[in-house]
Amino acid sequence: MLSLCILAATLAVVPLIYIFFYTTGAGLTSLNFDFFTALPKPFGEEGGGMVNAIVGTIILIGLGGLFGIPIGILTGIYVSEYSGSLMSNVVKFITDVLSGIPSIVIGIFAYGLIVLPMQRFSALAGGFALGILMIPTVTRITEEMLKLVPHTLREASLALGISRWKTTLRITLRTASSGIITGILLAIARAAGETAPLLFTSFGNSFWSTSLDQPMASIPVQIFNYAISPYDEWHRKAWAGAFVLISIVFIVNLIVRVVTRNKYSGSV
């Protein structure tokens, strides 16, 4: 039994280590300065990079975060501070539903809502899809972090004649802020790797573009297009992109680990 359990743990961890080191190995050898500064070259020409996709991913996440993060936080506040009411249970359930919707379905939603009326793929649609995907992550972590704030602090603030809204904003939220920031980081890391909802919203772009009403490149979509191509040169570019993505995920998770550890050990 013991050996079975250890075998299971090994089986679960080995793919991670394999994927991680394979991506790192393949990515590092293909990664160079040009990757971060140069535009993609058409097939047949050596060199080039992904700067348009990197900037694109940043813009798309920025757009998504612009509305995904505030809605996520406010919903988290509502679920936590008004917990117990029927409405907050409904909202909590809906958040769970939203987090379970396949991201490709969110892509269809953004397509119908933005691409169809505009009659073209656009960064706006991609950013919108990423924003929707960020909401449940931010909501859940906001709720959890707010619930960690001792109830006595809210009472203390209310007892001073500070209104409920200001108490939440100035005292509760501020106390939970470091935890909420980690939640936002997690949401960003997740959004950075999302591919499916971008395929037919922001689409892709081999050229430099920062206009929001035009198709826009992004790292994951670029990886996908390169990965399914038959050219070795493009595969190398894709590995470099994969390495960048996996590094973002790894670093963010590490930060979250460290921050939340402090959170639990520090007494309030």
């Binding site: 006595t152 602090l153 203390a156 209310l158 007892a159 001073l160 004649g161 500070i162 209104s163 802020s177």
Partner: protein, 272 residues
């Protein structure tokens, strides 16, 4: 007003000056009942608290002391399925005439465990109640901060450390910080819910000392499980048992010749 007079009569006659009795009542209740999920925590409590006096509420745990206290500043609002019935008069006005923010500014509260705001400095903690309700004049805030820290006996210990996090203070200092924070809003009545139960004896004596000074300007209502403390600090003492007010009298009378048998049994340690 008539009822209020009757209630004051219940309060130990010997210590009440004859002149204008009604002006001396800071807070009173009539038929106060609080239920949680339709189970009563306190029922039909009639009690009065005199201005500029310290009144202690004692009784075995679960008797409703804290429930009574928390109904004086709408703290039950926070608990779902709680219901408060009966009449509460605060500073001559029915409690219904206050909104929760207005009431809590008149009736401050200090809690069992020190609960300074962890992300704020000592100074910011003291002025939190003013700042977040709209007062932003820095010089004024600094002056108030110094005054209330002096009142709570903390000024000398923290005057050079106003910018440090409130969590850097010791437990006893934190509790005095919480008292200062409550004073800063300039309430008339201060509720204290077992303010020293989480503290060591030295910190306790410092807080008791500041309570003694505070009654010149404030009305204090203190819940305590410590009978010696009630005897040391309060002018009046109320004894509660199973959600009912059993007796309210001058502290001396309660501890020397209580009129109720239940009170006597508790005081003499037969139970509780």
């Amino acid at each position: 007003m008539q009822e209020v007079l009757i209630n004051t009569d219940i309060v130990a006659e010997e210590n009440i000056p004859d002149k204008s009795k009604k002006g001396f009542v800071a807070l009173s209740t009539e038929g106060l009942t609080v239920t949680f999920d339709s189970r009563p925590a306190i029922s039909d409590v009639n009690i009065s608290f005199l201005k500029n006096k310290v009144t202690s509420i004692i009784g075995p745990s679960g008797c409703g002391k804290s429930t009574l206290l928390r109904s004086f500043n709408y703290m039950h609002d926070l608990i779902p399925k709680s219901e408060v019935t009966g009449k509460i008069t605060v500073l001559g006005k029915n409690i219904n005439e206050y909104d929760s923010v207005g009431l809590r500014k008149k009736v401050g509260m200090v809690f069992q465990k020190p609960n300074p705001f962890p992300t704020l400095s000592v100074f910011e903690n003291v002025i939190a109640g003013l700042k977040y309700t709209g007062n932003n004049k820095k010089s004024e805030l600094e002056e108030i901060c110094e005054n209330v820290l002096k009142l709570s006996g903390l000024w000398d210990e923290v005057k050079d450390r106003l910018k440090v996090s409130a969590l850097a203070l010791s437990g006893g200092q934190q509790q005095r910080l919480c008292i200062a924070r409550t004073l800063a809003v300039s309430p008339d009545i201060i509720l204290m819910d077992e303010p020293t139960s989480a503290l060591d004896p030295i910190s306790t004596s410092k807080i008791e000392e500041s309570i003694f000074h505070l009654k010149q300007n404030y009305t204090l209502i203190i819940v305590t499980h410590n009978m010696q403390q009630a005897a040391r600090i309060s002018d009046y003492t109320a004894y509660m048992y199973l959600g009912k007010l059993i007796e309210l009298a001058s502290t001396r009378k309660i501890f020397t010749s209580p009129s109720e048998k239940l009170t006597e049994e508790y005081i003499t340690g037969k139970f509780g």
